[in-house]
């Protein structure tokens, strides 16, 4: 049997492993050593490094409010597994949690309790408003509920009634990108959706609730461009 020998690509893992061994022995010298160090070291800022680690190890709070909580529970299960992103450790204490997922309707009586829980969480902390009830009160828009924006800061709103686990997963990834410091703007370019921006003309500026729920208006020259 003929043995075939080939030179490995210098960036091959096995080559670098041998180089690392040589470096530890002190056999690597001069220009080769400099090149090796150059390949091994990455420079970054402290902020970026901290943001990277924060975004990849979020502990959500064990906190469910209503039917959305069932969908929230399923994001830790096998199908959309947030353990892939280091988010899986649901913490039972607000002191240990970084993220509050408001999953359901917030009543007038519950709002001070949630605010207290949020205040008890240690900085840095984030909050996701999940579902229609929590963001805009949805079908329960009456005397008994409050929207979550009114009493605490919310980082990401996930629409839906209830949102599918995939939708919450998307919200979580948006929050992760936000923590990492580069929110994925430019999605219109990626989805070939340039020209679908919401355009508001002054006569459509409305303040009261009775005007209905239509909030996207075709019009102006930019739409459909």
């Amino acid at each position: 049997m003929e043995i075939k020998r080939e030179t490995l690509d210098p960036s091959d893992f096995r080559v670098r492993q041998l180089q690392a061994r040589d470096m530890l022995r002190g056999d690597l010298q001069g220009e080769e050593l400099e090149k090796f160090v150059e390949q091994s070291v990455m420079t970054t800022t402290v902020e970026k490094a901290v943001a990277w680690s924060q975004g990849n190890s979020i502990y959500p709070m064990t906190f469910g409010l209503a039917c959305c909580a069932i969908e929230m529970m399923s994001i830790v299960a096998a199908r959309v597994d947030i353990a892939r992103f280091g988010w899986e450790a649901f913490r039972a204490s607000p002191r240990q949690a970084d993220l509050l997922i408001l999953s359901g309707r917030v009543s007038v009586k519950m709002a001070p309790v949630i605010r207290r829980i949020y205040d008890q969480m240690l900085e840095p902390k984030w909050a996701i408003s999940m579902g229609a009830c929590c963001s805009s009160m949805g079908v329960f828009n009456n005397y008994a509920l409050v929207p979550s924006d009114k009493f605490m800061p919310i980082d990401v709103h996930v629409p839906g009634c209830p949102p599918r686990p995939e939708a919450l997963m998307h919200g979580i990834l948006r929050l992760r990108d936000k923590i990492h410091g580069h929110p994925p703007d430019g999605w219109r370019e990626r989805y070939d959706a340039v020209g679908t921006e919401e355009v508001l003309t002054p006569e459509h500026e409305r303040g009261s609730q009775s005007d209905g729920a239509i909030n996207v208006f075709p019009g102006g020259d930019t739409a459909g461009a």
Binding site: K109, S136, M137, N141, Y143, I154, E205, S208, A213
Partner: protein, 169 residues
């Protein structure tokens, strides 16, 4: 369910013990209802209890706006042996919404009575703990009354992000 005759017989029995207690009877859709004056509710329920209606299946309030007296309190009683039901209805006005409690007879009426108080403002006299049960303690008004505004908030969308109630500061 007592039939129409049975309902009249029950009403007659109750009128014999106190002539003012029964204001009338209703028998519609196989449902027997005794219309009772509010101050006689405990006595009527005690009499029915003695007849076998030992289970208070439900206690709830109704707002019959614009009829007067506006508010109604309904007691749904059940005979667990005969599987027989009878309803007792008492009407109170919004000016003087008072009715004696039935908690000594049916301890399970405690929370339903508090809920009727919370939602309709009917005060159950003699109740051990007449507080709101669902709404916050400092809530003003009785939300299930017909003249209570539905309320709610203008929903924050992108178009009213600045002019609406605004972002959290």
């Amino acid at each position: 369910m007592p039939d129409a005759t049975g309902l009249e017989l029950t009403a007659h029995e109750l009128r014999e013990s106190d002539a003012d207690s029964i204001l009338g009877t209703e028998f519609r859709r196989h449902r027997a209802v005794l219309l009772v004056s509010p101050q006689h509710v405990p006595a009527v329920l005690k009499h029915l209890y003695g007849k076998g209606y030992t289970f208070l299946a439900s206690l709830h309030g109704v707002d019959y706006y614009p009829e007067e007296p506006r508010l109604g309190v309904l007691y749904e009683l059940m005979d667990m042996h005969e599987v027989d039901r009878i309803s007792v209805k008492a009407r109170v006005s919004t000016q003087d919404p008072r009715i004696p409690t039935v908690t000594p007879l049916f301890p399970g009426a405690d929370f339903p009575e508090r809920e009727v108080y919370d939602m309709f403002g009917v005060v159950f006299e003699g109740h051990p703990d007449m507080r709101r049960i669902l709404m916050p303690e400092d809530f003003e008004g009785f939300p299930q009354r017909r003249d209570f505004p539905v309320g709610g908030e203008p929903v924050l969308f992108t178009y009213n992000e600045e002019t609406g109630y605004g972002k959290y500061q």
